[in-house]
Amino acid sequence: MAAGVTPHEGSKAGGFLLALPAMLWLGLFFLLPLIIVLVFSFLTRGQGNQAVLPFTFAQYTRVFDTFWVVMQRSINIALLTTAICLVAGYPLAYFIVRRKTNLGKQFALFLVILPFWTNFLVRTYAWRVMLGQEGLINTTLMNAGLIKEPLALLNTEFAVILGLVYGFLPFMVLPIYASLSRFDFRFIEAAQDLGANDFTAFRRVMLPITMPGVVAGSMLVFIPAVGTFVTSDLLGGTKGLMIGNLISAQYKGSGNLPLGAALSIVMMGVVMLALLVYARFGRED
């Protein structure tokens, strides 16, 4: 690196000072609470929903004995959501990148970004309106004579997946778009000159090169989907109960605080595993 770009000695201290507020804030209000949760997860439930000594594994035992089913469901829903977002998101990103004019690109991007920026609660509520027994989809289908009874769309796993895909699709599109916009399409031409058909060209050239974007997008969808709270609360009912709702219930009302902590830690464990996948396959370098 040329001189002036390489940081000189003074900037070590300067750099430290610049980073200090962030380190303090995140350390105190982000890391420390998480550490407290970790400690709580090994405590016993005391009277009045408090966390008391002695230390115990009981919470984790209970998590894996009883609650694991819901964790499994949350992971499955998140995986399915990620897959659907990938299948829908990649062509969408490709479509945006292939717009001929810059204005066209910006507009196509804007149409994806704008829903992403509107209030998540409002968008999830919109699906409640659409999926209800007297909601838009059912009344349209019944008026068209396609069904006689309203379909049970709301308060199902399906509704939760739909709501999650809806909420997180832009998270998949944007990283893939970023990757694709740096992709040199002459590679595709070269592959076709060498006799590859479109699908092979995609599979062996485009996909591997844009893999960092794909993995980044998948992480950005999978991780919040696993821990979702609002979507499953508004759309899920009993069939769509997810781990985020159970964690919330432990904290509110007549819950069990150490258990909630253990649930959080286990959920974070799952997230960490996903992050490891990202670190392995997703880094651009």
């Binding site: 009045g48 308060n155 009993t238 159970l246 007549s254």
Partner: protein, 362 residues
Amino acid sequence: MRVFVLIAMLFSVFGITAAQETTAIDTDWTCPAGFEGQQLNVFNWATYIGDSTVSDFELLCGVTVEYNVYDSDDMVITLMRQGNPGYDVAFPTDYIVDILRSEGLLAEIDLANIPNIANIGEQYLNQPFDPENKHSVPYVWGTTGIGYDIDAVGYEITDWVQLFECECRVAWLDSPRAMFSIALTILGYDPNSESPSEIAAARDYLIENSSNVVAIAADDGDSLLAQGEIDIAIEYGGDVGQQIVDCACENLKYVVPNLGGIIDYTSIILLGDGPNPALAQVWMDYILEPEIQASITNTILYPTPNVVAIEEGLIDAEFQNSSAVTLSDEVASNTFFITKVSSEAEQYYTDAWDEVKILTGL
């Protein structure tokens, strides 16, 4: 039209409202002097107060009321155990009051500050959950039973078991004590059982009969019923009553089951470490004024303990004579209260409820 909307926007943004000169409810109650400019922080259920109760109080006393809602009175316990975040009063049901009282989280009221306590019927005072009313005054009483759409279900419902066996879309109440008390009653046990084996049996009953459950709703089962999302719900009587009035429909019904419906007394409690206990007691006196308490009952459709209001004919007659208030002898003899249990039993209940919620969805 647009100008109107714009002006209305400006009005509300700058807090300029058409100054309310008189109270909406006609009443002789006057506020003791010296409270002007103060603030009262109220924590209540949603849809559990009259339309003008708060604004009239603000007008009569020259105070502001900060009014927050919860969807389950467990929240009151959770918050108070952590330390009162600043509420003066709350409106929990009987056993919640008992728990709070026994943990020392309530402050003492001086009944001399609440002369209107004389309006309350004897049978509602001096209850086991708050002997001598040291911390609370009665607000309304009510029942928890079954709200249902008779057109969707197809037949008349009179008992709990029918709900659990119905081939229709069901909502349960998100209250472990309520749900377990029902299951325990069906199985023939004491609804306030502390026995782990009985609680486990109740849990198994709930899980086995959960295939028709669509949602477990804390406080919006009645909305789900009105919207047609479910056909039958375990719900609070007044909430279902409000929905019936709102939609003016013939097909929505509420029934207190023969086998045993839950009856509860809701009280206004004085929370410990509240910012303004004096104003809180003024508020209690205000609520107990016959016209005020009558207007509340007429709005939220929970029966009133204020016998003076009943005698003066202030309660809507149709409501007062309805089966929600005048329980038949058979039903009345089978209703039960939920009572406080030991903290060990509490843990059995919450653990079992977690299991119910998890396994119900599978």
